[in-house]
Amino acid sequence: MRGLFSNGMRTRALALAMVLAVWFVAAFGRLVHLQILKHGRLKAEVLEQSQDDMEVLPKRGTIYDRNGKILARSLPASSVFFSPLKSESASAQMEQVVRLKDRLGLSEKDLSRIRTRLQKKDTFIWIKRKIDPEAAGRVMGLNIKGIFLQDENKRAYPLGTLAAHVLGGVGIDDNGLAGVELQYDRLLEGEKGRRLILRDARRRSYQFETLKEAVPGKDLYLTIDETVQYIAETELEKAIAACGADWGTVIISDPKTGEVLAIANRPVYDPNDYPPAVPGEGVNRAIQHTFEPGSTFKIVTAAAARELGKVGLGETYDCREGSISVGGSPVRDHKLQGILSFPEVFIESSNVGAIKIAQEIGERNLFQMIKAFRFGERTGIDLPGEEYGICRPLSSWRKSSLRIAIGYEISVTAVQLLGAMNVFAARGRLIRPSISLGTGVGGLSGPVNQEPLKVLSEGTASELAEIFKRVVEEGTGLPAKLEGFEIAGKTGTAQKLDEELGRYSSARHLASFVGFVPADDPVISMIIVLDEPKGLMQYGGQVAAPVFRDISARVLRYLRAAPKPKAETLVTAKMAKASRP
């Protein structure tokens, strides 16, 4: 009996020992498997679950106007992405996405894109980029498997279309694509950072560790003044509505510093929805469109005549015929003129007179003055895509090229023409136009404007400014006249080349006016260009000069530039002398 018991015990003990041995070997083997063979992968999985190495997107810098008003700023937004479960079929995955269709406003195009990506077995698919964080929260409330959020920034332009062409726009990844957003992209964008987030078993973060600090983009202050910009845009809108022009542009600057206070263009787009739906809307016509300027270019002819001493102020020109042949084709005046003095040629904007003056100056001298004004070159304004314009070298001038004296056979941008007029306002100095004040608070650490070039003597500039003053007082620019202020300006009406007919059209014009105010101590200079005004009034003096007047009136009031009192209406109250006690 005892033997049997002993045998049974021994057998059971042996069995138990064997079970334990097997368990031990299995456990040991499993440990070897986990700790040695699969160590790397498992450790990575644990790290993945317990910590996240996240890219920290830098905040793009804010763009302010010269007075610190916000023009562009990046705000937090959420992007919804889909990371589908591998075990599910593409159609089952698509069903999950379709549940978001209405909530996220997904189009058929969006769904088609997502379907294609799912069929390709992509593991990361954007569903909708940059939606409002609250809307994103509601999406997450649906608890759809595989749907996640990514924090991003969205560029916001709180003033909508205001200064759209100056600001430009950004792409879906917040990279600058146009305007100052592109010009100063590296400055605005900052540098990405990295952050380690430690999480517990429930994926709650309990510790952050910054691996690399994200460097936010720098803020940028522009020379643009929100109010001046608004005035320019509203008046341009009114003008285009009144005259039916195809497009128009206005630039307002401080002629003493070259700082641009406003650039307005119509048509316009909303930078919040960049890129514009209609490609032409994105063109900044102030700097990216070239045109034959017509009579506004006579300011350069006048400068050449007087600076080189080729023509005296008292010289006269017989313009009674109303026409003159240049290279075999006639150049006509817009109305019959008589015998005009040098100033009157410009006051009355006589083409015949200007051609006769140009003949006296000579082609070489005229060309040298045109180059001194830097036509055919970029002005250097800090905006991308500036056009050079077309100024043929003297060697390729034709017999008809003397028409350049009246603003034909040359292509310029509006900003070039304004820069040329600024020479007279700045007493002979050509100053580079600028759009940025810099990055410091109040824009104090801005780019240093390069040394102005001396184009004319102070005497010539002042003398011609007086003539341009008379253009508005008594000449073609009369509609620009503003009570209480003296304006120096020049009108321009250029016939447009009809490419089908191969000659200049008598029905299609480009109207312009360029000037500065007050003439003696300029506060602002401005150019207005209106393309193809319709109706009876198509001349620069008729459609562009009044815009100059209306904008000047509002801007000067805003800038607190007081009108000059009229001497004849000035009434002084006399106090009766009180007898001292």
Partner: protein, 104 residues
């Protein structure tokens, strides 16, 4: 092999050691738990600060939209019936501007 009887002093010393170890472990666990709790709070507060800063920026941007001159002018003209000042209605500080017909 001789079995040595453990003295009460040695038992007490061992117990004290175990107790000390227990206290240290307990303290360590409590300290860790508290540190993690504080970590949660700090993370939560940092998150809140970030969100509030973002909210401020959002509100500033909204304010800029509400104060846009286009909107202000529309309200001024359409809702409040304001018009542009007529000549002579604007007074410039420190500048003598003639007014219409002043007394002799």
């Amino acid at each position: 092999m001789v079995n040595r009887k453990t003295s009460p002093k040695e038992i007490a010393l061992g117990a004290a050691f175990l107790l000390l170890l227990l206290v240290i472990v307990t303290f360590y666990i409590l300290y860790q738990a508290e540190a993690i709790q504080l970590g949660y709070r700090v993370a939560g507060l940092e998150d809140r600060v970030t969100k509030l800063k973002e909210e401020i920026k959002k509100l500033e941007t909204k304010k800029a939209t509400l104060l846009s001159l286009r909107r202000v002018e529309r309200i001024a003209r359409e809702d409040l019936g304001l018009t542009d000042p007529k000549p002579g209605q604007v007074l410039y500080e420190g500048v003598d501007i003639p007014r219409e017909k002043e007394g002799p």
